[in-house]
């Protein structure tokens, strides 16, 4: 078991008090690809931010790797995220000041458990895996959306986290690139034994996941 939630409730206080999540309990294991889908405003993004520990303002329990997230101080949480969670966003979010390779290396340089050479080697290996090795030296802003998203997946994997969170990873991509990205995420789940959580609108993704969760009005539809 990598991730487990118990009875998570979440309220937005502005513009007026409004319950976004109701009694969310779920668990995700290694090698599982879970997709969360639902209409806009159903709470799937909010749930994703809570699962990714970016948002800690909720009621209920969240355990990742047997660690109660609520017990961590903000800086311990940052370190925890660095080590155990990888992110892929809808809008790729590579840092344009850095090269493709540097973007992939950044989380590992923060973790600083390996030498720079080792990190570089790992990063190049990952870039190879996502088919982007040839672009390693390029400034990241020169890449297309699909290419950036592949690099973002390599970046999410660099610290070998147990959990990958992807927020609409194909939302901004054409058909071909969407399929490519999904295939990559599926491959990671299988070959690397990660738990992957994807928030998506794409029926192809939620129909092909190990498990798909539909969100309606802040609750999981069973």
């Amino acid at each position: 078991m990598i991730l487990e939630t118990q009875h998570i409730d979440k309220y937005f206080l502005e513009p007026e008090k409004h319950q976004v999540l109701r009694d969310i309990s779920l668990s995700i294991s290694e090698g599982e690809l879970v997709s969360v889908f639902g209409e806009s405003g159903s709470g799937k993004s909010t749930l994703l931010y809570i699962l990714s520990t970016l948002d800690t303002d909720f009621q209920g329990n969240l355990n990742i790797y047997n660690q109660d997230i609520k017990n961590l101080t903000p800086s311990a949480l940052t370190d925890f995220r660095n080590k155990h969670i990888g992110f892929v966003y809808q809008f790729h979010y590579l840092l344009p000041e850095f090269s493709v390779l540097q973007n992939v290396m950044l989380p590992a340089m923060k973790l600083s458990q390996k030498s720079k050479e080792e990190i570089k080697e790992n990063a190049l290996g990952l870039l190879d895996e996502v088919g982007m090795k040839a672009f390693a030296k390029r400034p990241s802003y020169q890449l297309s959306g699909g290419q950036q998203q592949r690099v973002a997946i390599a970046r999410a994997l660099i610290n070998d986290p147990a959990l990958i969170i992807a927020d609409e990873p194909t939302g901004n991509l054409d058909q071909k690139n969407s399929e490519l990205i999904f295939e990559l995420l599926k491959k990671i789940t299988g070959s690397r034994n990660k738990a992957v959580v994807i928030a998506t609108h794409d029926p192809k993704i939620y129909h092909n996941s190990h498990c798909s969760i539909e969100m309606i009005d802040g609750s999981i539809r069973l």
Partner: protein, 404 residues
């Protein structure tokens, strides 16, 4: 702070951001550079002038002057007609007992007409005791030619201020005639010429041995002035103590005699600090603006850095390092250019005015001003960088990612 934020990775990220905006970073550094350069040049020049005047005036004249109370009119150092101090022993006792007195010297001062082969001018003749006076005035440093006070151990020798010597068209070794108010005249040999750099002194002052002057005036063992040098010049309580407790004397301190110079020094100080401060403030705003804009433009990137494991403290450090690098570069080159400009000023010939005599502008190259300027520059950038950095660290990743 759970982890050390000062690490290679954070510095690498900071540098990467800095180089991505070379032009703005460069301009910000130029701002600091101008501030520090101006500070250095101004403080070098202003304190140079201050020190020059202090040195010339305060070392050329005593801190406290004791003279006899005039029965007719008020007395000044150069205009005394036979007013002799009667209670000099009592004054000496007080001076010897006072801890703030560094040294003191007796003088007999008289006006006289000095006559060379071609010219004649009035002068103020200071009859001094060489052993005492050498503790008061460092004449060796002021000598242009000839010998200092020790030459006055010989009878009938005279030391002259450079302007007076020039006007009399005489130099060391020449003879001049001196006519005293009582009609006595005598021939004196010029033993040396000195310059304090202040026209009012160099134009009139001469030194002869006190015994020579006493003999000529027929006033053995009489003196007109006692000059006092203090350890702490600002503590002039002694001045009023003497005047109140000993009859027949008046006292004057350096503040009374040099009011315009004291005020001038203050004005120059205020000018230096306020102008430098204003310039550094402007430079600081430059840095603040650039970093602030960067933080606003880079909110997404900051959010990403936070999600991939960079803490708020890392973010503060990354942005603060950028402003610090701008500050260090600006301050360093500011000090460098400040030195060059100060040096150029110090070699610029200065037309001698009526007030001071000096070949080039006086400049004070004191190291501490360079250190001060450097730290001022850096302090400004730390202040200017802190607020945008703090703002950056408060970026909430969820808001940013959701807000797209």
């Amino acid at each position: 702070m759970s982890k050390q934020v000062f690490n290679k990775t954070n510095i690498f990220i900071a540098l990467q951001y800095l180089f991505a905006r070379k032009k703005q970073s460069f301009l910000a550094a130029i701002g600091v550079l101008l501030g520090v350069t101006t500070f250095i040049v101004m403080i070098n020049f202003m304190t140079g002038v201050n020190d020059f005047l202090d040195d010339a005036v305060f070392n050329g004249s005593p801190d406290i002057i004791v003279s006899a109370k005039s029965k007719k009119q008020s007395t000044t150092t150069s205009n005394i007609l036979s007013n002799y101090i009667e209670n000099s022993n009592k004054v000496d006792d007080v001076l010897k007992a006072d801890e703030n007195v560094q040294s003191f010297a007796h003088q007999i001062i008289s006006p006289a007409i000095l006559i060379s082969e071609s010219k004649q001018f009035p002068g103020s003749i200071n009859g001094i005791f060489p052993a005492q006076e050498s503790n008061m005035v460092d004449l060796e440093r002021r000598l242009i030619e000839g010998e200092g006070f020790q030459s006055l151990l010989k009878e009938n020798s005279i030391l002259l201020g450079v302007s007076l010597a020039k006007r009399l068209q005489i130099s060391t070794g020449d003879e001049i005639k001196m006519i005293l108010p009582n009609g006595k005249n005598t021939a004196l040999k010029v033993a040396g010429v000195f310059s304090f750099g202040i026209t009012t002194i160099d134009n009139v002052r001469t030194y002869v041995s006190a015994t020579t002057l006493q003999n000529l005036l027929g006033k053995k063992n009489s003196i007109t002035n006692i000059h006092v040098k203090l350890k702490d010049r600002d503590d002039v309580r002694l001045k009023s103590y003497l005047a109140e407790n000993i009859n027949g004397i008046v006292t004057e301190d350096w503040k009374d005699s040099n009011k315009t110079i004291v005020i001038g020094n203050k004005v120059r100080d205020i000018l230096t600090w306020s102008v430098s401060f204003a310039l550094l403030l402007v430079a600081g705003f430059g840095i603040y603006n650039i970093l602030n804009i960067t933080v606003i433009q880079k909110r997404k990137d900051i959010a990403v850095l936070k999600t991939i494991g960079y803490s708020s403290n890392d973010i503060v450090f990354i942005f603060l390092v950028q402003s610090l690098i701008i500050g260090v570069l600006g301050a360093f080159f500011g000090g460098f250019f400040g030195y060059i400009i100060s040096y150029l000023i110090s070699t610029t010939p200065l037309d001698t005015s009526d007030f001071i005599i000096v070949d080039t502008y006086p400049i004070n190259f004191k190291m501490s001003y360079y250190i001060l300027g450097f730290f001022f520059g850096i302090l400004t950038t730390i202040f200017a960088g802190y607020f945008p950095s703090k703002k950056a660290s408060k970026v909430d990743p969820v808001t940013i990612i959701r807000g797209i």
